[in-house]
Amino acid sequence: MTGSGSGGAAEALAARPAAPVAPAAGFGAFVARARAAGDLVVQPRMGMADPLRMRDGLLATRDADAVTVGTITLDSYTRTGDFAAARRALAEGVGLNGYPIAAHSADTTRAVLRGVADARFPVQVRHGSATPEHIVRALLALGLDATEGGPVSYCLPYSRTPLREAVVSWQRSCELLLSAAEFGAEPHLETFGGCLMGQLCPPSLLVALSVLEALFFRQHGLRSLSLSYAQQADPRQDEEALAVLGRLAGELLPDTDHHLVLYAYMGVFPRSPGGARLLLEDAARLAVRAGAARLIVKTTAEAHRIPTVGENVRALETAAAAAADERAARGLAAVPGAQVQDTGIEAEARALIGAVLELDADIGRALVRAFAAGYLDVPYCLHPDNAGRARTSLAPDGRLLWSSVGSMPIAGLADAGPRPPILGSAGLISALSQVQRTYDARAEARPAVAAGPDAPRVSVPPGTPVAPGTPVPPRTPVPPRTTPTPRRELGRTP
């Protein structure tokens, strides 16, 4: 190339010289390095309104005894674009459920990140917005370039925005994010399509949506991607699903840097600390067995309230320890997902993806048309653009089954036998809380395992509230790392 800039984003990326800094600096590159070193990257879902507390949370995440990446989770007002409400809440000292990235000044947030976020500790902005351009602009202004979501996964379950509008907004957001590539960065985007509704959505639809959103991102220029999947209620079914997700991603996204990210259970969480810990440990073991490179953790406080920084750090360390244990038990030669039985997840996922891709060469338009036709139909989703005919049930052993597939082109593809009846309110509550009941009971039966370490391993002082817009000075000294382990270093070596 002669530098005229006429080759388009993809060519520009391909032609970029192998700069010494950029490839090592990205979110995806960090995860790839950790994976090559045999480490599962663990990540909290953490966001506090107060800048000092947010900074403390990031520092504590970085310094946990685990290979970690940082998270800034945004508050609900920012997610929906209601900046006035976010600013009012800050001014009045009202609690927010996340970090208001657009209400704090850029200087304030830069001070939060200074000396914390870098190539050795990338930070992802997590939000939940169906129309995220304002969020992407805000994170780019801070020098961040990793975020997550998707035109379907952040629209249907979480908003009333018409799907068509969300698709347009996500397309623009991809283009905005890609502008970071002009400065040598490798922006990273993670699908949320593998987490629809959190629970009671069968794996084939989760896998299909995760792949379709990744294809959408790729169509709009992103080349560093991750594909999500949320832990459900049966580890064998989840392992099969992750194997299918990895296979389809390899097949359909061969020209991207991508990895799988597993979410620890997104539904009604065990109430007991022991039950919550067992569920998280199972998620970490599943991630290792199934070849996921990154795990979003949940804490022992999940069933009750928004967790503290200390609870998040303990969750990160618990997950990392369980992952290391699983890897040691399996040995290095084991192939992820090799042991799983085929129950039809792949056939269903391929049928769904194929039906959508046939509708239009533009994946955004294809997604809109697919939902209009009911080829995609998220069970229990109330969004007006969702057909709402699909229903699911949970077998006693935890397997998710279709009670009704609506108009989705997957009838008869899985060998599930007769469909279970559609759930009423009591059945729904029972299904929604089945994982909680199971793990609380397990913890009660194994008190020695459930007890675990009883003291926080990282002490985080409560932050002092500061006025909005006040720059936050970097804290000195930086809190010491609790246990600087070689494992940790492996993941952080540029």
Partner: protein, 183 residues
């Protein structure tokens, strides 16, 4: 509204209520709304479910259009208390909704179970019932029962229920965990 009511009343129990089930502008959670819809429908009521992230204006407009017998606000994202205070003021400011039974429930703050003071503040602001977390479904069920008994049994005015009505004593009535309007 009258026509709507006449049309609908043929399809349900004579005591069936028209119920608006909704969350508030900043809350995207919906399992709670799905559960409440199923529960109310099984009790013979008709539900209009407004879904996720309902802006105040839409919520008020839909309630004015429908003139429901009951409005159920459910929120679990931790902003429910503040959003609820704002919404109830908007609802009560409408003449046709000034006395419509309206309740709120779920996880209303970011720090866990509510305090009696918080629940009292919601009642004072105009809610007829507050149903927070563990065990509150049974109380909600009882509340619905008083409404279904007919207009004469309705609470006379906002705040007419005794302080703390709808609030479970700790540890009572062990329903499956998570039933406190969920997640």
């Amino acid at each position: 509204m009258e026509q709507h009511a006449v049309e609908q009343h043929g399809k349900a129990e004579p005591s069936g209520l028209d119920v608006v089930v909704t969350t508030m502008a900043s809350d995207s959670h919906t399992w709670n709304l799905v559960f409440l819809q199923l529960l109310l429908e099984e009790l013979g009521h008709r539900v209009i479910n407004l879904g996720a992230c309902v802006p105040d204006e839409l919520l008020v407009a839909e309630c004015r259009r429908i003139e429901p017998d009951l409005i159920v606000l459910s929120s679990v994202n931790g902003h429910g208390f503040h959003d609820g205070l704002r919404v109830i003021a908007a609802l009560r400011a409408c003449p046709e909704l000034g006395r419509t039974p309206t309740v709120i429930g779920g996880k209303l703050g970011i720090a866990g179970s509510g305090t009696p003071a918080r629940q009292q503040e919601l009642m004072t602001a105009g809610f007829d019932g507050v149903f927070e977390e563990g065990g509150s479904v049974l109380d909600f069920h009882s509340f619905i029962g008083t409404l279904s008994a007919g207009p004469g049994a309705l609470p006379a005015a906002p705040g007419a229920l005794p302080a703390g009505a709808g609030v479970s004593p700790a540890g009572s009535k062990a329903l499956p965990a998570g039933s406190g309007v969920l997640l």
